[in-house]
Symmetry: C2
Subunit: 114 residues, 2 copies
DNA sequence: CAGCATCCCGTACGATACTG
DNA sequence: CAGTATCGTACGGGATGCTG
């Protein structure tokens, strides 16, 4: 049962793009429509399982569009919906902040705890 | 051992404020310096344990400042550091996006999956 | 190539009780 | 008031193997 209302919009947004991989996937798809294998190569370190799961989840939340081509070598392309693009744009400042403070963040997370 | 480098700044930022409660706590502290009990009341649904853990973690990452007063009724005040404030500011667009799309988000997360 | 199934583990999180 | 200790669970996530 999921009766979770969100404390604020930020909470809701984090729920959508939180987790370990969704932000990376969103980011990757922001620039290009990508196939499964391309995504796998673009997002470093992700497993097939997590890519599949994340993609499915983002499909179901309307962030990602999935286009299947019924060909002999199976081909599936993933792209962002308008909704997805708008989210990425909202995340951009956070991403820039993160990059500006990468050193510091790596220092505190690497030497600290979870 | 923690050799996690981040895929991008966004990844790093999400690592800092991800989780279930940190965003809410940051948000609450953005407006005011708050005591433990006040925070507990401000962040709806959080347990003492999670509040403590989140606070400790954010202390260790330099987002939150903790000020103890050695008085008879113990008193501790939490506030954001400059670092914390800058993070909140970077998160703001995301929060606004979330609020603008609250209905949609609740619909897709409430009826879907995690 | 794209993807699902299964096993397994760590930890994030929750509930409850106790303390200075 | 402001925590800490302990226990238990659920889920996120990794590794591996199989299918159309």
């Amino acid at each position: 049962m999921n009766k979770r209302k969100y404390g604020c919009g930020l909470d809701a947004a984090v729920d959508l793009m939180g987790g370990k991989w969704k932000a990376l996937i969103l980011w990757a798809l922001h620039f290009d429509t990508l196939r499964f294998g391309e995504l796998r190569r673009t997002v470093p370190g992700i497993s097939e399982r997590m890519l599949t799961l994340s993609l499915r989840e983002m499909e179901s939340t309307g962030l990602v569009h999935r286009e299947m081509y019924y060909e002999v070598p199976p081909k599936v392309e993933y792209s962002l919906t308008e909704f997805g693009h708008s989210l990425v744009e909202a995340m951009t400042p956070l991403g820039e902040w993160g990059e500006s403070n990468l050193d510091r963040i790596e220092a505190v997370t690497g030497g600290g705890n979870t």
